[in-house]
Amino acid sequence: MPLLDPSLADAVIRRALRSGADFAELFVERKRNQAVTVEESQVQRVSSGNDRGAGLRIIHGGVVSYIYTEDLSDTGLLKTAEVAASVGRRGGGRFALGQVVDTPHPPQEVELDPGGVDVEAKVELLLEADQAAREKGGEIRQVAVGYGESRQEVLVVNSEGVQHQDARTRVRLMVQAVAERNGEIQTAMEAPGAQRGFEFFDEASAAEYARMAAERALMLLDAAPSPAGTMPVVVGNEFGGVLFHEACGHGLEADFVSKGSTVFTGKVGQTVASPIVTAIDDGTLKARWGTLGVDDEGVPTRRTVLIQDGVLVSYMFDRLRAGQLAHPVTGNGRRQSYQHLPIPRMTNTFIAPGAHSVEDIIAATPRGLYARKLGAGQVDVVTGDFVFAVTEGYLIEAGRVGRLVRGATIVGNGPRALHRIDMVGNDLKLAPGTCGKDGQGVPVSVGQPTIRISELTVGGTGVVPAGAMRP
């Protein structure tokens, strides 16, 4: 079933242009999702949802007006177009939009539509995972396991004659294990996912991920508090890519660039990283969390080299900013839903692999922190300052991996850290995540091989001299 009758879409666009706007675009979305949760070894919740709506964007003299609605009837949409034409503001400025070129990639292939899989099969998957985690021993006090699926269909129709569709099917597992000993609690989680159907779980064993989470929670009970201070940090490939995503990736999104609010403004062609660093955003990768056939403006995705051998090559653009900065589109115009304006966002973003093995990198580091797995993080785009949680970190002593530490964070400055990457591993890995910006969450992949940063600030509570010290 088409998301919307083409002649209706056409009528809506024409009505929206009545006030003299330069451009009109209709984004129609239908999304179905289902979630299953197992807690206390029992099915706690099965829920599902239907989101359906449309957003109408008009641009008049450079000013963007947006209106959205859940009413997709003929009268509802035409009325929305009337309102858009009436509330829309007229700007005095000239503007251009980056042009939609190329043909869309087909949507990712799905073998087993998760919406057609019995809930029993999903429940079984979760109970298996729950069991596997609990088998790790009595100190595992709580296990929460969740399954989520979604299928999002989008249609972009605009006044330039573009009519592109895409469909994105995603499945994900979440396992959280809580371990407790003598009143002390530690927790660990695993959350694998892919843009695939239910067949994903033929390869990704839910039980195996559950065991990993449980083992890490138990290990953390034995961990010592992390030291604080400045030291070399080896960042592993388990979600380590979040570091580049947050600390540099956002600064390469063209909306920040066009306002001059990022440190990377005006630096194309300049050296912004150590010469061993190459970074890429690629929305075309097979089955990845951030992959799209077309972005949410109807632009086919592509592979964009952001940094080549340390030199800044390109930013990531939506159509508006591509027009403003006179650059070809890159397929990075994305939105959370029909309730949001498209803005430049990352898709699958990663640091390209280098020459070293993890062992080489550790052995070459006399002392420091091995942040094997990173958790959540945050960055100030204006300054580039970032902070990340280390969810699995070890001390490096005399070129060897030493004891596990807990509660560590790494703090630094994105652009400076890029220059301080002095070793790049050969073990590139991508992981799924939800990226938040301007109140919009979108699915992305982050990735990197193991890398070494020669100097970063590590935060923690251990081994800090007592007493106040002057700066």
């Binding site: 099965v46 949802g49 600030t457």
Partner: protein, 445 residues
């Protein structure tokens, strides 16, 4: 009763549900972003959706939709019931006993929707103009936004509940950029009210500029253990992170660091924390919760002692207590447990006197990486910036530092609470005054 709710409840009943509950929400949004003296974007919309919870032999089913056609509604009821079939049955899965809901005034500004949008646009433009004219080092902003909205909630169930309320909010946000030599700093500030006229334009502009300029020239200091003063902007964020620990659901599922500590000291004697769902001026205030239970003021921590947790109907049943009216939700979710207006009660000391007690320490103004806190163990290590305190006064700016500890540890080390209560959104609508923490580990050079 709303006809959508009526249709859903009767369909659910006809399909065999013992009980059912419909949660409808609709709202309007107006948002304008400006940049460089011009409108960058303008969003204007009306939106709606409905969630249905069904109960069959104590099995809960749930489904939601934004499509309110008759066929879609019938399908929704069937889907909720089908989902419920897989759930395990539990005595605690019940609808609450309907109670009388007391009115709560002051939530709604009826004129907000009829104000000429041009006035709102001009408000945003003026915010930018003022913010970029106060200090030669602040010539640009990265974001200036005016936004408002009205939300209408209706809740009806098969036990006869049929209630609703309306709420408005307006706010202005400025993210300013200060530049000096090759350095740049960002400064954020926001102003909020139920109405456009309640917003403080001059104040928010001044604050954003001060926040940005104040940190210019900031440097790292040595790793140490020092007294730390938390500005309310930082304190509210930590309080927001703590919020989930008070959840009776987190306690039941052993995910709260406050589990098993009822009646015990969890904070210094200077600390009293309340969740007040009827707080005048509180942006999260509401007459009833997500299940129709009357909302009220709950004392969580009094003089350092943990007095209770927040409960919805399910968690209260399971723990043998009463719902505290703390069910939070949207139409897309079942009722969970959460905070509303979460307040660390102010003390009597002046802010300057609190800072005056510190010879050598850190005044924390901005926190980064709140999402890195481990809410189960309570361990945190934030990125911080602020000022060094020397001889009882704010001295040079400090940045790119970490401050680490444990949330409970921090509460227990609070040795001073000022009288300057301030609010911001941080999970809930959180209020905190300036507080002095005896000693924390800070990481730098």
């Amino acid at each position: 009763m709303n006809p959508i709710a009526e249709r859903l409840l009767s369909r659910a009943r006809a399909q065999g549900a013992d009980a059912a509950e419909a949660y409808l929400s609709r709202g309007t949004e107006f948002t304008v972003k400006v940049f460089n003296g011009e409108i960058e974007s303008l969003v204007s919309a009306a939106s709606r959706g409905v969630g249905l919870r069904t109960f069959s032999e104590h099995r809960v089913g749930f489904a939601y939709t934004s499509d309110t056609d008759a066929d879609a509604l019938d399908a929704l009821a069937d889907e909720a019931l089908r989902n419920g079939r897989y759930n395990h049955a539990e005595e605690a899965n019940v609808l609450p006993e309907p109670e009388v809901i007391e009115e709560l005034s002051g939530l709604y500004a009826p004129d907000l929707g009829s104000i000429d949008p041009q006035r709102k646009v001009e408000f945003a433009l003026e915010m930018e103009r003022v913010a970029t004219s106060l200090d030669p080092r602040v010539r640009r902003v990265s974001d200036v936004v005016y936004s408002d909205g009205a939300g209408h909630v209706e809740l009806a169930n098969t036990r006869g509940l049929d209630v609703g309320f309306e709420r408005t909010v307006a706010y202005g946000v400025i993210d300013a950029i200060a530049e000096q030599d090759s350095e740049r700093q960002s400064g954020f500030a926001f102003t909020y009210s139920r109405d456009l006229d309640g917003l403080d334009l001059a104040g928010v502009a001044r604050e954003a500029v001060d926040n940005a300029v104040g940190l210019l020239g900031g440097r790292r200091v040595r790793t140490a253990r020092v007294p730390v003063v938390l500005h309310p902007d930082a304190g509210t964020m930590i309080l927001g992170v703590m919020g989930s620990s008070f959840s009776g659901e987190a306690v039941l599922k052993r995910r709260s660091l406050l589990a098993g500590k009822l009646g015990q000291p969890v904070a210094a004697p200077a600390v009293t924390i309340v969740d007040d769902a009827r707080l005048p001026g509180g942006l999260a205030s509401r007459p009833f919760d997500g299940e129709g239970v009357p909302a009220r003021r709950i004392e969580l921590v009094k003089d350092g002692m943990l007095l209770g947790y927040l409960q919805n109907t399910y968690t209260a049943r399971r723990s043998g207590g009463q719902s505290t009216g703390s069910a939070v939700r949207s139409y897309k979710s079942v009722p969970e447990v959460g905070v509303t207006n979460l307040v660390l009660q102010p003390g009597t000391q002046k802010r300057d006197d609190i800072i005056g007690r510190v010879d050598d320490g850190l005044h924390v103004e901005q926190l980064h990486g709140l999402n890195t806190v481990n809410p189960v163990s309570g361990e945190f290590s934030f990125g911080v910036s602020g000022h060094w305190i020397r001889d009882g006064r704010l001295a040079e700016p400090v940045r790119e530092m970490t401050v680490a500890g444990n949330l409970i540890g921090v509460l227990k080390l609070i040795v001073g609470v000022a009288d300057d209560l301030r609010f911001r959104f941080a999970g809930g609508f959180c209020g905190c005054p300036t507080v002095l923490i005896e000693e924390l580990a800070i990481g730098g050079d």
